[in-house]
């Protein structure tokens, strides 16, 4: 498969004294989903911003289809890379439909306004992520999950080859998290490459081929989800005890944190509760 995005020895710092990350190398192929895990404030968002060509790298290079991303006009990058930032407040009450339509910007001339075709594409993206019902509501009056989907729809309207998502599931409730991940999964099977950051190691098993764990300003581990998301790696990254178990019910690996305190279930529902996650995992089989 063709490599779309190739990152070589990437390094970045706002302040030369404090490096955010350095020596990060990886590449992204067509239809690949890469999930970046790591603790708060480690630089996942910054890395994604660099990949979106919003921050210039301080060392190394990001190549998009073989050419350095810094040498490309923003417009050309925007035709290949769709960026979904973390949710933030929007002051003006743009209807969701108009908000999604803004994704057509890289395909329109400087003085052009979107036309019928562009509106049709926006409507198709709205249908794809399933937010038709709120398409005419103001974008600052919808829920966090709907807003996240609206931003994904906007990125899709760019018709990109790569989707960069900065913590697409943060601030979402359990159901919306899974819904967003399902949509990302579906997009990947339809040919889109995805890079997303996440706080939930479980999400790596749900959607990704590859996982990178960011720690101490670099990729501590990088590879297939089953090889990278291990009990040892998670313990080292987040400093908590975790069990990785295979659940036959859902037919995938799951990530189960260990109990923090004493058992409070008094043996009512869980027989032989010993407070060990391994037992919980066993009960799943």
């Amino acid at each position: 498969m063709d490599v779309i995005l190739d990152v070589r020895k990437a390094g970045f710092h706002y302040d030369p004294v404090r490096t955010i990350f350095s020596e990060i190398s990886f590449s992204l192929a067509e239809e690949e989903v890469l999930c970046i895990l790591g603790p708060n404030g480690i630089g996942k968002s910054t890395l994604i911003r660099c990949l979106a060509n919003l921050n210039p790298l301080c060392s190394g290079a990001i190549r998009l289809h073989g050419s350095n991303i810094r040498s490309l006009p923003h417009r050309d990058v925007a035709k290949v890379i769709g960026y979904v930032p973390q949710a933030h407040d929007i002051v003006f009450p743009f209807p969701v439909r108009d908000f999604v339509l803004m994704g057509r910007a890289p395909h329109l001339g400087l003085f052009a306004s979107p036309g019928r075709d562009d509106r049709a594409k926006a409507d198709a993206a709205i249908d794809l992520v399933g937010i038709q019902k709120i398409a005419d509501k103001p974008v600052n009056a919808i829920s966090g999950g709907e807003y996240q989907l609206a931003m994904i729809a906007r990125a899709l309207v760019q018709e990109p080859e790569v989707l960069l998502l900065d913590e697409p599931t943060s601030h979402l409730d359990f159901g919306n998290q899974i819904r967003v991940l399902e949509i990302i999964d579906r997009l990947a099977t339809e040919g889109l490459s995805v890079i997303m950051s996440s706080h939930f190691p479980d999400h790596a098993f749900l959607t990704s081929n590859n996982v990178a764990i960011m720690q101490h300003g670099s990729f501590m581990a990088y590879g297939l989800a089953e090889e990278v998301v291990t009990e040892e790696n998670l313990k080292e990254t987040y400093g908590v005890d975790v069990s990785i178990a295979y659940s036959h019910t859902v037919d995938r690996h799951v990530c189960v944190p260990h109990r923090a305190g004493q058992c409070r279930c008094h043996g009512h529902h869980v027989p032989a509760c010993t407070g060990k996650a391994a037992v919980i995992a066993a009960s799943m089989r």
Partner: protein, 368 residues
């Protein structure tokens, strides 16, 4: 595609969920827009009759039509003067230039205000946020102090207005972080500096002649506008207006967020420069013929947003028209209310402030 269209026709779009009574009647933005487009010519026509000298409406229509109709060969159609010389003089030399100036100033300030509110992602921004009004005010005050003629007062006001914004922009480029915030702060710094210079000029001015002249100039008026003044500002005004109208869809994206605009391939720095340049040219032009007129650029964009929503493709032309109407009404009031004309800056604030409070009270501006 046909499916989505069907869906649309089933459920009427709920663009403005907190609609008031007026808005219910005008719920379709196209209808509202059409009404706004019709309003300006009507107001312009009515404004021609305001003043102490009564003119015959038929004469006015003929007077206005004559220059155009008489371009045709005389045997096809020709309008012969049935009006008195005094009527022609009042309409063409006194009332029309003033009306044109009011339309330009109101339209310009409103559009500049709307563009700035998008650029700064802040609905409380007005066109003088980057110090153009204080700069222009100082330019005019200095020119009056030095006894320059009317023309030079305007040139000086225009020049200092541009200078103030340039200083603001260069100051903000010295710091590399969060450009918009630094730009606003630089504007406050430059504005305060030029305001102090205005005070200094007033302090040293002759208190019997020049001090009142400076004070009245700063309060704003269209009473002494001549065609020459209008001709001087029209090129800047037209160029800037056309550019803003051409890029208006992209102002939407800037209004959502700088990062997102850049990720969508927009050169945000260049866009900001273009918007600042256009808005500054417009505002400086307006200030140099009319003096400092606040509130128009703040209130009218809100009114526009309330009527047609936040989309700049509709909002910007509507602001242009609403601003022109608003300024025309204010100027008519200034002419009508008292024998001595009330300065425009006072009226815009006296009417604008309660009106703005009313708009906020309706909670329909969308960002509350």
């Amino acid at each position: 595609m046909s499916e989505t269209l069907d869906e649309k026709s089933d459920a009427p779009p709920v663009l403005y969920p907190r609609a008031g009574r007026i808005r219910d009647a005008l719920a379709v933005p196209a209808v509202t827009t059409a009404l706004i487009y019709c309003m300006l010519p009507v107001l312009v026509f009515l404004s021609l009759f305001i003043g102490r000298y009564d003119v015959n409406p038929v004469h006015v229509v003929l007077l206005l039509a004559a220059p155009v109709v008489n371009l045709l060969p005389e045997n096809v159609l020709h309008i012969y003067p049935v009006w008195s010389a005094a009527e022609a003089n009042v309409i063409y030399q006194i009332r029309l230039p003033r009306i044109i100036a009011a339309v330009l100033v109101g339209a310009g300030l409103s559009m500049a205000g709307a563009a700035y509110q998008g650029l700064f992602k802040n609905p409380l921004v007005s066109p003088d946020i980057l110090g153009v009004a204080s700069g222009a005010g100082f330019g005019a005050a200095l020119a009056i102090l030095l006894s320059w003629n009317m023309m030079m007062i305007q040139v000086s006001a225009f020049g200092f207005g541009i200078l103030a914004v340039s200083v603001t922009y260069l100051l903000s480029r010295m710091y590399r972080t969060t450009p918009t915030l630094v730009l606003v702060l630089s504007g406050i710094i430059v504005g305060a500096f030029f305001t102090a210079l205005i005070s200094l000029t007033k302090y040293v001015a002759d208190p019997y002649e020049k001090l009142p002249a400076i004070t009245f100039w700063l309060m704003g008026s269209l009473a002494s506008v001549r065609y020459e003044d209008i001709v001087m500002i029209v090129p800047f005004f037209l160029a800037a207006t056309i550019i803003l109208l051409l890029i208006r869809w992209r102002i939407n994206i800037l209004a959502v967020g700088d990062d997102e605009a850049r990720a969508l391939g927009i050169d945000t720095k260049r866009m900001a420069q273009v918007i600042i340049l256009c808005s500054t040219l417009i505002t400086a032009s307006a200030v140099c013929i009319a003096g400092i007129i606040g509130w128009v650029g703040l209130v009218v964009p809100h009114l526009g947003r309330m009527l047609v929503g936040p989309d700049y493709t509709r909002l910007l032309p509507v602001c242009l028209l609403l601003g022109a109407c608003y300024m025309l009404i204010i100027d008519d009031l200034a002419r009508m209310l008292t024998n001595a004309e009330i300065p425009l800056g006072i009226l815009t604030a006296i009417i604008g402030a309660p009106f703005f409070a009313y708009l906020l009270g309706r909670r329909s501006v969308g960002w509350m």
